[in-house]
């Protein structure tokens, strides 16, 4: 039961991620010639979109907040990274910080960061997704003031709000973009000098292939074709893009997901899921 529930939500999330890219063609604001949007992904995901189920529990993306929120929170408050979550001793730890959540989807991470006190801009190329995120947040009286959702791509936002954010976050999205380098460059441009960029994604390894494609898609419930091995990104590639753009890479850390407990934890092994944190030179 629990297992199938988790699988279902994995499916849902991945579907929704797909949808996000699909609808880029339907909105005028994000031209389909945007270098980061992949037309093939768009066509593939055309058949399996589902915005509705984004917030259903259990939910891999929601539980991924167990690792990605402390990573962002502690880096932006100059705390030392630790494998176990050590709680801060005040509320609203991220008060005064501005963060952009690139590829925010239904807002699972954006809402969490707002609750911690940050001012968050969630952007997503999919209009439906942004509408869903807005609707979901509108029910919560604690989220009104510091949360804004925009239906734009990262390149669109760079044109108007370059160098505006203390934190730029792109989690579980880079494995779906076509031009990794220009996507990461956009992210870097959005950050203030000295600001942080956080990316979480899937490595391009044999293990990642086995888990994300063979286990999840061929043998599991995730639709075949959701992930493409060629699009998985090796950490060295991200590292070199950051270095080329005068960012210093502070951390590359592996992540592990336990299907049975629906929990994420940090690991030293980078071979499947990993997170990278870089700081833009000032």
């Amino acid at each position: 039961m629990a297992l199938s529930g988790t699988r279902m939500s994995w499916l849902r999330c991945k579907r929704s991620l797909g949808r996000k890219i699909l609808l880029t063609t339907n909105t005028h604001r994000c031209a389909s010639n945007d270098s980061t949007v992949d037309q093939k992904e768009v066509e593939f995901f055309g058949s399996i979109g589902n915005v509705e189920g984004w917030w259903k529990e259990p939910n891999v993306l929601l539980s991924m907040n167990q690792t990605r929120v402390p990573l962002i929170r502690d880096a932006l408050t100059q705390q030392q990274f630790t494998n176990v979550d050590q709680h801060p001793t005040s509320c609203r730890t991220l008060k005064g910080k501005s963060i952009v959540d690139v590829g925010c989807g239904g807002g699972i991470l954006s809402e969490a960061l707002v609750r911690l006190g940050a001012s968050v801009t969630g952007i997503d190329a999919t209009k439906d997704m942004i509408e869903a995120a807005k609707l979901h947040a509108s029910h919560d009286p604690a989220l009104n003031e510091r949360l804004r959702y925009l239906n734009v791509t990262s390149s669109d936002l760079v044109k108007v709000e370059a160098e505006s954010f203390d934190g730029v976050v792109a989690t579980e999205v880079i494995e779906h973009v076509s031009d990794v380098e220009s996507f990461v460059t956009d992210c870097i441009q959005l950050a203030k000098p000295g600001g942080s960029i956080f990316i979480t994604t899937i490595n391009q390894t044999w293990a990642a292939y086995m888990i994300a494609i063979v286990l999840a898609e061929r043998l599991g419930p995730v639709p075949i074709g959701t992930h493409q091995y060629e699009k998985f990104v090796k950490p060295e590639i991200l590292k070199s893009i950051f270095q080329k753009n005068e960012c210093s890479v502070k951390l590359i850390q592996g992540q592990m997901y336990n299907v049975f407990t629906n929990k994420w934890s940090w690991a030293s092994d980078l071979s499947v899921f990993y997170a990278i944190h870089a700081v833009k030179g000032s």
Binding site: V51, E52, G53, W54, W55, K56, E57, P58, N59, L62, S63, N65, Q66, V69, P70, R73, D85, H87, P88, T89, S90, C91, R92, T93, G106, E111, A112, L113, V114, R115, L116, A132, L135, H136, H139, D140, P141, N144, N262
Partner: protein, 501 residues
């Protein structure tokens, strides 16, 4: 819209609060609170709350991060624990109880009479209460530490005694329930200046939990109160005791059975003044009888027995009752003589294995000289365990989640354990920017607590059953068990340790 509601509120009953009209819509709860503070009369308060409902087309309902139903020891402690946690300072907490505000006790108002409802609070419970600032008040009011607990069997000579080796460290504290409640109420008074609201004489009438995980409708719990006003919350906590309405309306399944036993409680006067730092419990075939120290001259009685005997015990005169209590502690007629030789041999063997253990020295309980008039009462006993302690947006704590036999004095200690655990889980959730009602984080609370509570409940139930018989085999088994446990220090230390966790 919200502005319009506020204006209407203003026109109809809040003339004196004109200045607050400038509050944004979100502060409506604060407005309601100010109103409550400015007027103590409850009925007027609920009228104001109702006005906020029907004075406009779309009701504006007060919103809280946590609503706790039931201001008993568990609910009161949770409200204090959440309210005094710095990381939760911007979370709004509401505590509801259908009873009146408990009176503030002072050493003078306590006088020389004792309440007949007492609990043995273990060191973990003390730690929780110290953390929320209530323990110092309890100490100022009245509590009695004890250093040793002696448990023995009416059918054989076997006994077990628990104490820390030096006899200086306390095992637990006997505290009257109303003292604990008064200390918690005092803390709540301080916290009311911050993020905690407390509404007395406010009963729960119903609750609604919408489908979770949808985006087109909100997912908060709507709580309907007895006066038909409503509040909304991310997380509803049922701390409303063994007959929990939250559990019922929330559709939780409860496994329960009655023991065909009642507990008779009373405040006892000792025949002579003693140090009185030992808790005594003797297993009679009809149920355990316990004498818990209250002072050098008083002890509290908890006597679990059949309904018929309980009824008799309540009807007899004070003198007859005192005699019955003394008889229950001293009488030897249940002894199964043929077993004495076996248990004696076994004890000798254990002495060889573990010589020189002072704690196995048998002590004798003080004899009772009288009872505090009017202090006799009885309660039916039962066991209950909710299959789940959580559902999306609802959590159960204290007796609402689990009810145990008082023989091990664990009831509220388990409840306070729930409070610490739920607080930790919510703090963790807040630090991840999470939603308090999210089932993923509430499940952590359930898993941790059931892992602790279920084994304790099973042991208590097994003890209850094992000791409710005079069958020689059972008597022998339990005698040898008690003796061995008593003699084997490591085992006993584990028990002391886990009983105080």
């Amino acid at each position: 819209m919200a502005m319009q509601t506020i204006c209407q509120l203003h026109n109809r009953c809040l003339k004196s609060l004109a200045t607050l009209v400038v509050c944004p819509a979100r502060s409506l709860t604060c407005l309601a609170k100010k109103q409550r503070e400015s007027c103590h009369h409850h009925r007027f308060q609920s009228r104001v709350r109702r006005f906020s409902q029907d004075s406009s087309s779309k009701p504006v309902t007060p919103f809280y991060d946590v609503v706790i139903v039931g201001g008993g020891m568990a609910g009161g402690a949770l409200a204090c624990a959440l309210g005094s946690e710095v990381t939760l300072a911007d979370h709004k907490i509401l505590l509801l109880d259908h009873g009146k505000k408990p009176p503030k006790l002072t050493p003078e108002s306590l006088g020389s009479e004792y309440s007949n409802r007492v609990c043995a609070l273990n060191p973990q419970s003390k730690k929780l209460l110290s953390g929320i600032g209530a323990w110092s008040t309890i100490e100022k009011l009245r509590c009695k530490p004890f250093h040793r607990m002696q448990v023995w069997d009416a059918c054989s000579d076997s006994l077990i005694a628990f104490n820390h080796p030096d006899l200086i460290q306390e095992l637990a504290y006997i505290v009257e329930n109303n003292v604990t409640i008064s200390a918690l109420t005092e803390q709540l008074e301080h916290l009311k200046q911050g993020n905690v609201d407390v509404w007395y004489e406010t009963g729960l009438a119903n609750l609604k939990v919408p489908v979770q995980g949808t985006i087109d409708q909100e997912s908060w719990v709507t709580v309907t109160l007895k006066d038909m006003s409503k509040v909304k919350t991310r997380l509803l906590v049922g701390a409303d005791g063994a007959n929990s309405q939250v559990r019922k309306f929330g559709g939780f399944t409860m496994t329960r059975w009655t023991y065909d036993q009642s507990a008779v409680v009373a405040t006892l006067h000792l025949a002579e003044q003693t140090e009185n730092h030992v808790a005594w419990q003797r297993f009679l075939p009809t149920g355990p009888i316990a004498m818990l120290p209250l002072s050098e001259t008083h002890s509290s009685l908890v006597w679990s027995t059949t309904h018929e005997e309980a009824k008799k015990l309540l009807q007899m005169s004070d003198d007859e009752f005192v005699e019955a209590v003394n008889h229950a502690f001293w009488d030897d007629s249940h002894h199964v003589a043929s077993l004495d030789i076996v248990t004696q041999i076994f004890e000798d063997v254990l002495k060889v294995l573990q010589p020189d253990d002072s704690s196995s020295v048998r002590q004798l309980p003080p004899s009772v000289g009288g009872i505090q008039p009017g202090s006799r009462a009885k309660f039916p006993l039962g066991l209950g365990h909710a299959m789940h302690y959580v559902k999306p947006r609802i959590a159960l704590i204290g007796d609402a989640a689990h009810r145990v036999h008082p023989l091990a004095g664990q009831g509220i200690n388990l409840g306070f354990g729930d409070v610490s655990c739920l607080k930790d889980v919510l703090v963790k959730c807040a630090n991840l920017g999470g939603d308090f009602g999210s089932i993923s984080s509430l499940t952590d609370y359930e898993t941790q607590r059931q892992r602790h509570v279920v084994p304790i409940m099973m042991v208590i139930d097994a003890l209850k059953r094992l000791y409710s018989t005079t069958n020689p085999a059972a008597v022998l088994a339990r005698s040898l068990g008690l003796q061995a446990t008593n003699a084997l220090k490591p085992l006993k230390d584990t028990i002391i340790d886990s009983a105080s966790r």
